[in-house]
Amino acid sequence: MIEIKNLSKEYVKDLGFKTILLDKISFSISSDKIISVIGPVGSGKSTLLKIIAGLEKQTSGEVHHRTDQKIIFIPAQPSSFPWLNVSKNISFGLQQINGDEIKRLINLVGLEGYDTFHPDNKTYGFRLRISLARSLAHKPSLIVLDEPFNQMDVTTKMEILVLIRNINKTQKTAFLLATSNITEALFLSDVIYLMKKNPCEIFSKIEVNLPDKRDESIMDSEKFTHLRLLIENSFQQIESQKLFRITI
């Protein structure tokens, strides 16, 4: 269990004006769940993820987790290194490299036969698979994904969504996804937190009680549509006076 308690982030701009980016964000992440945070563009989701992954400092609040629990961050842009081949990308940063484990991860993410390929000029899906395998090689408790599906075609996105759910179920690795896309969050998640901006606060928690095994057909189900409408309405209510972009 990883707990985020009263996390706030303030920036002091020129002339001493303070901007509150995150305001007392609190939620918890169970060890075998997929959690999504849906919020409008520019609401501070990436900053929240970076703070959780220890890449940025918060102004106040805490991220509680055991010291042996690793949190791995996957950025929005492809982050596999183009100068390393698939195998070396996956073992990047490891103290001890276990060849069999690397092979197993390559197969797990669907890159069998591509061990010696370089990710340069490859698709976003290919590069995200490498990032996922690299993250898993570090045996993390939580993998945080910062809007990773933005530049992917529909078919690849669906394959990766199914892959992440499979990894979650088989490896017992928790995922935290930040997105502004309701459909991908609903398909992937067990729990969804809704965020508003200016300042960024969590205003609702939604339990996604869809079946564990999910495929494309689930998006046509009544439950899925109901949940989607529920989320849309929640956003409309909270931000009725403001214009912001949520991709559906």
Binding site: F73, P82, W83, S131
Partner: protein
């Protein structure tokens, strides 16, 4: 790739066309003129020029200085890579303020080095090496700001130490641009080494140029220019081959 091939083909065709026009115009139509020497004059006088001006020695000295300096600059940058990036990131402001010196022309430093060192060849070598190191470091500094943020974030997140990040992320990310930039450093180095030798009045192609100029031996001057162009072309070709062999990624 197709575009690159057709560009090489176009350059070659243009070169052949210009050569044909030159031979036709200055060998047969205007053999006596004050524009360019006859092509056959080059061939007739080439052996004499090579012997009279001791071009073997000049060729050895200048090419050794240029290419050894290039190699040394790469070795120095490679050996000090972690330290360099650390300095770039921590002392960015100080480094930017040093840009003041970029307005000083290369011959200013050539004069200083000629003045400081009595041993001209040693001075030339130190001058060329420092210039090559300076150009490489300057490019590396520019590239240190172009490293993709996601690569740095991932490396930090995976627990790499700062010096590992400089070596495994910054350096790798900068390599394609830096090695490509060596083509330009190569051109610049030829220019400033020739200036150094011209001012230093001691050895190398620059010195030979000065002597030929004092005798108003224009045929020799043209011949030197062609020899130097061929060496630069060959050097550039080598850098491109090395680049192709070593670098297979875009930053």
């Amino acid at each position: 790739m197709k575009g690159k091939n057709s560009s090489t083909k176009n350059s070659f065709s243009l070169f052949i066309a210009l050569l044909f026009v030159y031979v036709l115009l200055f060998e047969f139509i205007l053999p006596v003129n004050k524009i360019l020497p006859r092509p056959s004059l080059f061939f007739d006088s080439f052996v004499h020029i090579w012997r009279d001006y001791n071009l073997t020695s000049a060729f050895t000295i200048t090419t050794s200085v240029v290419y050894l300096s290039l190699i040394i600059s790469f070795i120095v940058v490679f050996a000090a890579i972690s330290l360099l990036f650390k300095i770039f990131i921590e002392l960015e402001g100080t480094i930017l303020s040093l840009r003041l010196f970029r307005y000083l022309p290369a011959f200013f430093f050539a004069i200083i080095f000629n003045f400081w060192f009595s041993e001209k060849l040693f001075a030339e070598f130190v001058f060329a090496s420092l210039a090559a190191i300076f150009f490489s470091i300057q490019k590396l500094f520019e590239e240190s700001k172009n490293v993709k943020e996601e690569y740095i974030l991932v490396a930090r997140n995976l627990g790499l130490t700062p010096s590992d990040i400089y070596e495994k992320v910054y350096w790798k990310s900068a390599q394609p641009t830096l090695i490509k930039y060596y083509e330009r450093i190569h051109y610049c180095l030829w220019g400033i080494v020739l200036i150094f030798e011209f001012i230093g009045n001691s050895n190398g192609f620059g010195y030979i140029y000065r002597v030929a100029l004092s005798y108003k031996d224009y045929t020799a001057l043209f011949t030197f220019a062609i020899i130097i162009s061929l060496i630069i072309w060959f050097g550039n070709f080598l850098i491109r081959v090395i680049n192709k062999k070593l670098i297979h990624w875009t930053p």
